[in-house]
């Protein structure tokens, strides 16, 4: 059995690349994440309730799985989501803080508060694709292919797991930095999942 990178998506402010194909998006000034959503012709209104971190992870996951035969409606116990980033949910935490900073203008909102956890992005991807396997979020100062590799291989120590959406999902100060990979146990030899290949796809 081989452990392959079956698909990948790299998403930053300046680059959108899916499986070696650069995707050019007509950008408006408002928000490039919303532009990508429109470009994909998605009909998923929940998207507009998400914070930037979840939007970024969600869009990358849609692109990652675009050409993969995957039934979004069937519960998938054999699929896991393992993500990592630098800033946790601080981008949205700062937004929430503005709602409680001023005693005379105190309006904490549950719809903002719910995104003050980094692993909500796992939840959004899981809901969209009915992924019911392991769901994990780790924090690391810097992008680390070694840590991503190690976390995914640990997840595969559960013999019921055959595929893992993994990678780096960071959003802070208007900077989007995402690399998502779909890792699969397969009979065929394809791009092997290893530290060098994760690093290569990130840079």
């Amino acid at each position: 059995m081989n452990i392959n990178i079956a698909s990948y998506c790299r998403l930053t402010n300046h680059k959108l690349e899916v499986n070696d194909i650069d995707i050019q998006i007509q950008k408006t000034e408002a928000s490039s994440l919303n532009d990508i959503y429109r470009h994909l012709n998605l009909s998923y209104p929940k998207f507009f309730k998400m914070d930037n971190l979840s939007k970024a992870g969600f869009l990358a996951s849609e692109l990652l799985l675009k050409n993969i035969i995957i039934d979004k409606e069937t519960p998938k116990k054999d699929m896991a989501i393992v993500l990592m980033n630098r800033s946790a949910s601080l981008d949205n935490d700062r937004t929430y803080q503005t709602t409680i900073q001023d005693e005379n203008n105190f309006f904490p909102s549950p719809s903002v508060f719910v995104y003050t956890l980094s692993n909500i992005v796992n939840g959004e991807i899981a809901i969209r694709n009915k992924i019911m396997g392991e769901s994990s979020f780790y924090i690391s100062e810097n992008f680390s292919p070694e840590k991503i590799y190690s976390a995914v291989m640990n997840t595969f120590s559960d013999p019921n797991i055959n595929q893992v959406i993994c990678g780096w999902v960071d959003y802070e100060f208007n900077e989007c930095d995402v690399l998502l990979l779909l890792i699969r146990k397969e009979n065929q030899e394809k791009i092997p999942f290893n530290v060098n290949n994760i690093y290569h796809l990130y840079t």
């Binding site: 409680i100 508060f113 899981a126 019911m132």
Partner: protein
Amino acid sequence: MIYQWSNNIISSLGFTTEENYTAVKQGNTGLKYYKNPFDFPEDAMLSLIDDEHLNNAFSSINTKQKTAYTRFEKAAILSVYKALEKTNIDVKSKKVVFILSTTKGNVELLDKKESEFYEAERVYLWRSAQLITSFFDNPNEAIIVSNACISGAAAQITALRLLQQKIYDFAIVIGADVLSKFIISGFQSFKSLSVDICKPFDKNRCGLNLGEAAATIIYSSIENNRPLLSNNIVLLNGAIANDANHISGPSRTGDGLSIAIEKTLQNTNIQDIALINAHGTATPYNDDMESMGITANQLENIPINSLKGFLGHTLGAAGVLETILSGVALLDNMLLKSNGSENPETICPLNIVLNNQNSFKTHFLKLLSGFGGCNAAILLKKT
């Protein structure tokens, strides 16, 4: 399997595992009613670490560092220090790794009133983790698990996997979270806080109480030949599963939790299980969801408790704290009562522990569920 070598709890009920266990066994709760805690404009029932006690205890161990530590960092460092004190482990060794479980770390530093003494980087979890490991001169980068309220179990599962692969000899698992206006206002905006002591699994349950704690378990793949009384607990297995249902609401079916339990209990004789230490937050939906996940695995007759009525929901600390207390109780052949549970009523009936009782069985199952639809189960036993 991996072996618990030592542990510690820092909470409202005391700064040692023994103090916490004794208080809980006697039925004392650390929950108190606070007026406008952390400048929050309402009152709340909380379990708080006493500031003066923490500062004094921390100064007595901090003899060399000049860093100004936050409450979160002080509690975490103190807990590790006290757990290490009971062992002869060389924490400076490359074979020792720290695994930090937290949901919000120093998030209160986003408040401009709180942040003036600290550098901007202090709100990042990795920065706190660096300060914790460097306090102990540990050479490895800490692993940081931030998986909402299941973090404490997820961190123990990570320890199990790393130690079984012999990458490290020891894993120091820290669960820590402190409270702030940020966290309290958020839970209040969800209308999920109870102003009275929470009532897990009770028909009149109406919400949770928040708590703060730092708890540490030191695990090793090596059997401890000279265990302390409280250290003969082993972690056998664990699993995480997602509901894929809702980002903040518990599943209406308990499917995710049910999968986590099923995976964790593979090859386990259910007759050996003394206790299920549930998440039991005392929100109407959480406790119903747990009752479904438990019943789907035919575990509904096993005694079940929740410790939230003693120490509140301690977020990233909960999984570590509650694992320690349940383990110590089991070594004492004791099932702790589910404080606040009076008239149990959940969608599937459960066998709630209403008074402390003896049990001589060997295993216990710890459950956690959290935002993002995540669920975790871990199985431990006494040797």
